[in-house]
Amino acid sequence: MSDTVVETTNLTKNYGDFTALSDLSIHVNRGQILGFIGPNGAGKTTTIKILVGLSKPTSGSATIAGVDCSQNASRIKRLVGYMPDKFGSYDNMRVHEYLDFFGAIFGIPASQRKARIQEVMETTSTTYMQDRYVESLSHGMQQRVGIARTLLHDPEVLILDEPANGLDPKARIEMRQLLLQLAARGKTLIVTSHILPELARICNVVAIVTAGKLRAFGTVDEVMSSLCPQRNYEIQLASASHINQAEKVLGQLLLDSEPLTSSPAELTLRFPTVRTEPELAELLNQLVAAKLPVTQFRELTSDLEDAFLSVAGKD
């Protein structure tokens, strides 16, 4: 039996002539965290809305735990915990009352609700703020209460829209630990974020969408190797007077597909390349043979941000 919990197949959503989402096919296994990346208007929220039963696809299908998201929206609502990017605060309501209200509208019996609220507050470390008004909480606190709210009905899948948005570094680390902890408990998470290094640290799989189309999908390493096949190298010289000479030498050695950029202020030259290690060693030899004072010859590491920018730049 497949362990796939969330699956979309050729998911398409049109609003009149505008295609918000086109042929999106992804799948997420139990206990995995999917990082859903895309610029504003890429189709992330449209996908999320279809998955939580708030929107119907024009074509294609989306299932959660085998349940069709558009045909059986009422079952989906019990399978999914959804945290939108807007918190959804109420005036004059304390955290405990807030969770009690959402527990009640999710149909948790009053006899079990109290214990369940205590449990989710312990999980999200929000017990100490239970008597505070929700509107008086800081953004980071509200995000944690938001996650507690999504956990109330013990859903299989958590869909979190920008949970780390606007959080300070400490709150961001706490949020990351909380998400990893939930995945370790067997919850499947779909997380959108603009803070890509944050996602790279916690996600098992990544999906990059732009203009409604899936540009990359897989593990972080798979996405990186498919989107960033070129490596970036940086050469640092001892003095700025050698920059012109270095440019001439490298101009003869590098190909057209390896555009050279120099930064005399930083005493550096950079170029992207797909050369192998021996080929790079030969290049370095030739620079040394030309009596250039090379102090450093190093690879610049690429991250998810570079992968995303390489896709976003094409649109």
Binding site: K86, S89, F101, A110, S136
Partner: protein
């Protein structure tokens, strides 16, 4: 500062330009022009006969004057009521207050921008007013100039009121609610004591007469040739007194606003809340609060609609401890009214006591109802709570019923406030038992109407501030607008037209049933009930369809 430098005020320029750019302002101005011209055309005499007493021109002049006055009442306070509070919430007010521009320049800029907009609003109707002058029988000095001065006075007074409330409010919708609430009190409720008390002498009568200067109605009656009508119900003030009161109140509101317009007004910490355990609560606290808002609440029981409970607990305005105090005060007033009448302290008949109680109840309903109802759906959508409810398994019908019940039951509680008075009245005079039952039915219909109509407005509004303003406008048109037509009974409005207009107003049905002064000739039951119930049914259908639309998947 001369007039030219006043116009160079950067706040005035920015406010005026931004408002004139708004399509809403253009629509409002166009509507006023269209309505005033249509009224002139409707009332223009068709027979080619000479009207020696010039009644024809007065009959045209009067509805035009009332229509423009209503437009000023509805439209003028909306912008100033949001002017300061919205700038504070956006953070632009602190930037202005920290600039070298003194607070009074900021205030004058905001006030004048709004007054100029109101002047523009009523200026477009001047051709219609001068058309009446062309008919003869209306003088510039005796009618037109005083009318324009009244409009100008209203523009200053309502703008200053809106700014004052805005400077004290924490949210845009609260500011709108309080502004329109106070406006309702100034325009309609201020003449209530004189109408009900009648011609008394001494301090009571003086206070009652002074209150009437807050309302433009007596002033308008005086210059539209209906002063006799005003005098017949005991009003002795006119347009001069009204303008004096406008000047005094505008200065008062301005000083109170300037006092608040200071950088320290932003220096407030967020209330984190304090929980009072049941065992810690002192007897004094229990007595003063009745329902303690800080007391730890138990979970929502299975037999209660959770949305209804949430609404009761989270509303910004009309929380239960305040409502219970209001109800207690209302109950005491109603019993006192009945007791003083029964003991012969004042020479009031049962009709006057019942009428005063009806007016008190309608005042409560119109003060609280629109703001409670207007926040039901719009504020939920605005805060993001609606999206969360949509993502939960709760049914749309349960959401709607919970929300409607929360407002209906609250307003019903308010109606209960005067029940002791009615009970005592029926005990004193058992023959009026039937009338009292009919009044209570009319008030129940009024409650349902206020709840459903404001919820309808809320369901179609994008923000709670817009919903609050629109709800007050709709209900004021329905309740106060029909009473303005009643004030023009006999001239220019015929009895049939007045009766048809009053059928829309359940408060009028109740007043007619109790034979309140001025309502003796109208028989509005049962047709008024049928009309009221039809409005409720139509509103409910619209509401159900809208909620179904808002909750179904996109």
């Amino acid at each position: 500062m001369n007039s030219l430098s006043l116009l160079k005020n950067p706040i005035l320029q920015r406010e005026l330009i931004s408002r004139l750019r708004s399509p809403k302002a253009l629509i409002a101005i166009a509507l006023v022009a269209i309505v005033s011209c249509t009224l002139v055309l409707m009332r223009w005499p068709r027979e080619a006969t000479i009207d020696l007493v010039s009644q024809g021109s007065i009959q045209v002049f009067r509805p035009v004057a009332y229509a423009i006055a209503i437009a000023i009442m509805m439209l003028t306070p909306a912008f100033p009521a949001t002017a300061i509070v919205s700038e504070r919430r956006k953070g632009t007010l602190v930037l202005m207050l920290n600039s070298p521009t003194p607070p009074w320049v900021i205030y004058i800029g905001k006030l004048l921008a709004n007054v100029l907009l109101s002047v523009l609003l009523f200026s477009v109707s001047l051709p219609a007013i001068f058309a009446c002058y062309a008919m003869g029988g209306i003088s510039i000095a005796g009618n037109i100039v005083p009318l324009v001065l009244i409009f100008l006075g209203m523009a200053f007074q309502y703008s200053a009121l809106g700014l004052w409330v805005s400077s004290r409010s924490q949210s845009i919708d609260a500011s709108l609610r309080w502004t329109y609430g106070i406006l309702l009190g100034m325009v309609v409720l201020s003449i209530g004591p004189t109408v009900l008390v009648g011609k008394l002498s001494g301090l009571q009568a003086w206070i009652a007469q002074a209150l009437t200067t807050l309302s433009p109605i007596p002033a308008l009656q005086q210059i539209t040739g209906a002063q006799g009508q005003a005098q017949s119900i005991g009003i002795a003030t006119g347009w001069i007194e009204f303008l004096f009161m406008c000047a005094v109140s505008t200065i008062g509101f301005a000083l109170a606003t300037l006092y608040k317009l200071h950088p320290t007004m932003m220096d407030r910490s967020r209330n984190a809340g304090q929980v009072i355990e049941a065992t810690q609560s002192s007897w004094l606290r229990r007595l003063s609060y009745l329902v303690d808002p800080n007391r730890r609440k138990s979970g929502i029981p299975f037999w209660l609609n959770p949305v209804m409970v949430k609404e009761f607990r989270t509303r910004k305005f009309g929380r239960l401890h305040w409502l219970l105090r209001l109800i207690a005060a209302g109950a005491i007033v109603s019993i006192l009214l009945t007791v003083v009448a029964a003991t012969g302290t004042v020479n009031w008949g049962v009709d006057r006591i019942a009428s005063s109680m009806v007016i008190m109840q309608i005042g409560f309903l119109l003060l609280l109802g629109p703001s409670l109802g207007a926040n039901l759906i719009a504020s939920e959508v605005e805060s993001g709570g609606w999206q969360l409810m949509r993502a939960s398994p709760i049914s749309p019908w349960r959401i709607l019923s919970g929300k409607l019940l929360s407002t209906f039951l609250t307003l019903l509680l308010l109606l209960m406030a005067t029940l002791p008075g009615y009970v005592m009245m029926s005990y004193i005079q058992p023959a009026i038992g039937g009338q009292v039952s009919n009044v209570i039915i009319s008030l129940l219909i009024a409650t349902a109407m206020v709840t459903i109509l404001s919820a309808c407005v809320s369901a179609y509004s994008k923000t709670s501030a817009a919903a609050t303003a629109a709800s007050y406008a709709v209900l004021l048109v329905l309740f106060a607008g029909t009473l303005l037509i009643w004030l023009g009974r006999g001239n220019p409005f015929g009895p049939l037209f007045v009766e048809r207009a009053l059928l829309l107003n359940p408060a009028a049905t109740a007043l007619a049933e109790m034979k309140a002064p001025g309502f003796e000739t109208f028989q509005l039951i049962p047709n008024g009930w049928y009309v009221g119930l039809s409005i409720c049914a139509a509103g409910l259908v619209i509401l159900v369809l809208r909620i179904a639309r808002l909750t179904r998947p996109d």
